[in-house]
Amino acid sequence: MSAVMKHRLFWPLVVLLALILLNTVSRPSFVRITVHDGRLYGSLIDILRNSAPLMLVALGMTLVIATRGIDLSVGAIMAVSGAVALTIIQDSGDPANPAVLAVAIGTAVGAGLVCGLWNGFLISVLGIQPIIATLVLMLAGRGIALLITGGFITTINSDPYKFMAQGYVLGLPFAFYVSLVAIAIVALIERRTALGMLTEAVGINPEASRLAGVRARGIIWGAYAASGLLAGFAGILYSSNIMAADANAAGLYIELDAILAVVLGGTSLAGGTFSIAGTVVGAFTIQTLKSTITFLGVPPAVTPVFMAAVVVVVVLVQSRRFRRFMGRLPARLRTWTSRTPDGAEAAS
């Protein structure tokens, strides 16, 4: 039992399952999945679909955090990517043409990659603190996106583009497959090769790793590039979902959600050892929580209060001091209850 409890995925999974359980109890329709036109529908399916952008961003964030870094610019990169894609499609005059879409998506994701490379350059080559280096792009990125769209919210009408976020394949949302592929690729690259361990080494002690011959610069740079690339894809999914490029709203606060998902998954913000499976669970948890809040009838604007509660609970559970405090609590309660006659009875 205690071995199970000590597993690093134990608590993240407990939180996710508890959320699902809570939802199911309060409204059984939550777990109901209906089939319509050979497609699955239901709250759980929505969560799979809507979590895709967060999943992509969180995967990149996991790699960045493992190197002891942080990427605040992912939301801005999403805005840039969406703006690039939609502007190209709009300007082409042929929004349904697959070639145009390919160029648009390629350029947009490329823009994300360039942003990530820029972050990586500032951090790994110039040695600037990650929080500040990415803050630069976080500040400037949305401005750039606004310049690309000319200060407007660009909207398009393109069925193939719409398909990415809203389409179905084999009964499941296409966006979910995008998540799966991204998870698989990241997991394979990190764990089937030595990259994962080398990343952890760099995150634990960059200088020691460098002296041990690890190309720390390349690994850190790569992590930010991956984060930018994945955020680029997330930007495509986001803009495909609303079929518009909104430089101000796209990916707003997603960096915080992503960081939360990573922390929720048991990866320490201090860098080093990381868990991709944990991040996956974390991303689903965040998405479930958001849909829970919506279904509870809370105005979406008040959602942040719940997020705050989650942040506090999560960090407290992870805090060693808090655990020690709570660990001593049963003993204290026992000594307290044993003094009362009722307690003695209950204890026996």
Partner: protein
């Protein structure tokens, strides 16, 4: 353990009795006594893991004791934190100087005790007071300069001055000399003697036996969390003290003495030859070469350029002059990685900051060197297990479990793991910078023996250590450095420790043309 209370009670400033501290799974201290008297320098001796630092932390209020009593000036005290201990007159100066480098010298002396007038700090008076406290120790400094502009030795004296501001009756010096050069140690000792004369009790922790015999009046020896005993120093010899610390004889170290005389074949190409290798403002152009099977020692004080030279050879820093040949061919060592690719392995002097990866396992720490060279291509599990098992056994890593996190190992065993990491990459040249600093005598002997054995099998080694005895014992040739340049080369069978010291002290000045 056999002290009569009647004798100690009268002059004991601090008496710790039966101190027990329990950590999860281990008893770090088990019924330890320590008595400090006014006007004495009291050495606290023991191997790593003997419980010295735990005992100090109990005394300075960082750890709460699970059993036992602490009396200060006859009054029983319970400390809740360092501030408590300081108010009871117990101050500590740590190995890594615990001051704030971003603040001025004067502030560091006076922090928390700044002189105030009308509710605000009177900086003029505060700096004047700081200067007075420093002068009391014979240090003259511009107290308004930033602490970071001063050497570690000066910072240590600033830390001691700070202790005097709080009117410390007891001064704990936790390995203060480990990064000082000889003259700095001398200055520290004169300060210590002065404080002793003023009735301060000094608890002195160090790994350097000769320093203990030079300055201490009495010593308490710990072993495995238990008290071995308290002894007046004149009654001990270095040999008997080591025996008390180890609980066993140490013949191993002596047996190595023949290594220095071993013949080295210098007919072929040297493994590494550096000509005029230097770096502006760090080290002057230097020549050094190492042949297969040879151990070249580098002797010199801290800051003499010995680590700096090693770092250039290892590609850790970039040389801006001279050239380096590896196996007869010119090589460009732009970063550690390219040095490793040329078969040069470098074990840094700072084990914790530049060596181990604390959150990774012993196994991962060992294979990191190989893995870094291979890049993404992962070592096969069977291959990895074989390598790890081989080196854990060969170097005697304890505990011999590959899946233990390395941060849970003692310093000596961490050092062995680092050695394993480098040996696993099958280097041609191994550069060891202070491989035995701050580790217990047993591990030290193991590492020395391993170095001798490897060089006998043809490995070229550059060996750097503050302990000249060790350098002399292991190496065939000694490069002597001073003031950031090489001042000469000695054949180690021609010289003894005193000759090397003499050479460092005098040769350097003549050669400074």
């Amino acid at each position: 353990m056999s002290h009569s209370d009647a004798e100690t009670a009268s002059d004991a400033l601090v008496a710790m009795r039966g101190i027990t501290i329990q950590f999860p799974g281990v008893k770090a201290l088990d019924g330890v006594d320590l008595v400090l008297r006014a006007g004495e320098v009291h050495a606290l001796m023991g191997e790593n893991g003997a419980g010295k630092s735990t005992l100090i932390k109990a005394l300075t209020g960082e750890y709460a004791v699970d059993a036992g009593t602490i009396t200060v000036a006859g009054e029983p005290r319970v400390f809740h934190g360092t501030a408590d201990a300081q108010s009871a007159g117990i101050s500590t100066v740590y190995q890594e100087v615990n001051l704030c480098a971003n603040l001025s010298v004067g502030e560091n002396v006076m922090l928390g005790h700044e002189l105030r007038r009308g509710g605000r700090i009177d900086w003029r008076a505060t700096h004047r007071a700081a200067a007075e406290h420093l002068e009391n120790l014979g240090v003259e400094l511009d107290t308004r300069t930033s602490l970071s502009t001063h050497s570690i030795a000066v910072q240590q004296l600033v830390a001691i001055s700070r202790a005097m501001v709080t009117d410390a009756k007891v001064l704990v010096l936790d390995e203060p000399t480990s990064s000082l050069d000889r003259s700095e140690v001398e200055q520290l000792f004169s300060v210590m003697r002065d404080l002793r004369a003023r009735g301060v009790a000094i608890l002195f922790v160090t790994h350097f036996l000769d320093q203990v015999f030079e300055i201490a009046d009495r010593c308490t020896v710990l072993r495995n969390g238990r008290l071995v005993g308290e002894y007046p120093l004149p009654s001990l010899t270095p040999g008997s003290l080591v025996q008390l610390m180890l609980g066993r004889e140490l013949d191993d170290l002596e047996a190595l003495s023949s290594v220095a005389d071993r013949h080295v074949d210098r007919s072929g190409a040297p493994v590494v030859r550096a000509t005029g290798t230097g770096r502006k403002g760090v080290i002057e152009p230097t020549d050094i070469d190492v042949y297969p099977g040879e151990v070249v020692g580098i002797a010199g004080l801290l800051g003499s350029g010995r680590t700096e030279l090693a770092r250039l050879l290892a590609g850790a820093d970039h040389a801006d002059s001279g050239q380096i040949e590896v196996a007869g061919k010119a090589a460009r060592l732009a970063n550690p990685r390219s040095a490793i690719d040329h078969g040069i392995a470098y074990s840094s002097e700072d084990r914790r900051a530049e060596g181990i990866l604390g959150d990774l396992t012993v196994a991962e720490n060992i294979v990191l060197g190989i893995q870094a060279r291979r890049g993404w291509r992962k070592l096969r599990k069977a291959e990895q297990d074989a390598v790890v098992a081989e080196y854990i056994a060969a170097l005697g890593v304890r505990p011999a479990s590959p899946s233990t996190l390395i941060r849970n190992l003692s310093g000596g065993n961490q050092q062995k793991v680092l050695l394993a990491r480098w040996l696993a990459t099958a280097p041609a040249l191994l550069i060891l910078d202070e491989p035995t600093r701050g580790i217990d005598v047993g591990a030290k002997a193991d590492i020395q023996r391993k170095v001798a054995e490897l060089s006998a099998r043809g490995l070229a080694v550059v060996f750097i250590s503050s302990e000249l005895e060790e350098v002399l014992r292991l190496s065939q040739r000694i490069v002597v450095m001073r003031d950031r340049r090489k001042i000469g080369e000695l054949a180690s069978h021609d010289v003894d420790v005193d000759a090397v010291i003499d050479f460092i002290a005098h040769e350097g000045q003549e050669g400074a043309a």
